[in-house]
Symmetry: C2
Subunit: 156 residues, 2 copies
C-alpha cells in the first residue's frame, strides 16, 4: 500500500474520468464533423504538432474552425475515428494521455476508403475546474530504409 | 493576480528547473553517445512513440541500451543535438514539455551529414522527488500531397 493524502485517490479518479470523457467527446465530434466542438476543447495558448506540416501550430492557428471544416469537407461519406489503448496520467492541474488512434474515410472523389493508425499524445491543464488541451502531438513514424516514406500501413 | 497556495510558485519554479536540467542532460548524453545516461531518464513503465517504427515501444523495449548503442554506432563523427523552444508545464507530480529538436550526423559510410528537425513531447512523473520520463513522442509530419513522404526538410 502506498500512503496517499486523504481524498487524493478520489480526486485522481475524478480527473481521469473527466479526461476520458473529453477524449470520448473528441471521438464523437470527429465522427459528427463538429469543428466547433473540437475547437472548444483547446486552451487559448494550445500548441499542436499535427500529421501534416507545418512543424507546429499555436493559439489561433489551432482554434481555426474554418480550417477544420475544410478538412472535413475533403471526405465523402462517414468518417470513422477510434481512440484505442487510452492511458491517462493526472496529477493536480496537469495531465497527459496517449493512445493509438484509427482514422478511416474516403477522400472526396476517390473510389476507396483509407484506414490510418497514428499515435496521439494529449497534454492538459485544469483551468477553473475544467480540463483543456494545452498541447497535442499526433504522428506516424517514417521508414528509415532510404525511402523516407511515412509508415501509414502499421497496425497496433 | 491569481491567488495561489503559499509556496506553490516556488514549487512550480523548482519543478520547471529540474525538468529543464533533465532535458539539458538529454542533450549532453546524445552528443556524448551515452546510452546508459539516456536510458536512466525513463521510468520502468515508459511508453515511447519514436521517429521510426514500430508505432510504440514500452518498458524494457524503451530501456534497451544495446539498441541505443547500435543506433549511435550507425553514425560517423560528432552527433549534433539541440533542443529549441522548450516549453515546460509542471503541476504537482505530473509535467509535460514540448520542443523542436535538431539532429545532425553523418550516417556510417556516407559522405554527407544530414540535418533533421523534429517535434518532441516529453511527459514526466515525479517519483520520490525525482522526475522520470513516463512517455515520449517524437516525430516529423508527412506530406499529404500523394507522395506520403516524411517532411524531413522543415525548419522552425
Amino acid at each position: 500500500m502506498t500512503p496517499t493524502p486523504a481524498g487524493a485517490d478520489a480526486t485522481a479518479g475524478r480527473d481521469e474520468a473527466q479526461i476520458r470523457q473529453l477524449m470520448a467527446g473528441k471521438e464523437t465530434a470527429m465522427r459528427a464533423r463538429d469543428a466547433e466542438r473540437l475547437i472548444s476543447q483547446y486552451g487559448p495558448d494550445a500548441v499542436t504538432f499535427d500529421l501534416a506540416p507545418p512543424l507546429r501550430r499555436a493559439g489561433e492557428q489551432v482554434r481555426d474552425a474554418a480550417r477544420l471544416r475544410d478538412w472535413f469537407a475533403g471526405f465523402d461519406g462517414p468518417i470513422e475515428f477510434e481512440i484505442r489503448d487510452l492511458a491517462v496520467t493526472a496529477g493536480g492541474d496537469v495531465a497527459f494521455c496517449h493512445s493509438l488512434n484509427r482514422l478511416s474515410a474516403t477522400p472526396h472523389g476517390m473510389p476507396d476508403r483509407f484506414e490510418l493508425w497514428f499515435r496521439s499524445t494529449v497534454c492538459l491543464r485544469n483551468v477553473g475546474g475544467a480540463w483543456q488541451i494545452a498541447h497535442e502531438h499526433i504522428s506516424t513514424p517514417f521508414y528509415m530504409d532510404g525511402s523516407f516514406r511515412a509508415a501509414l500501413d502499421l497496425r497496433p
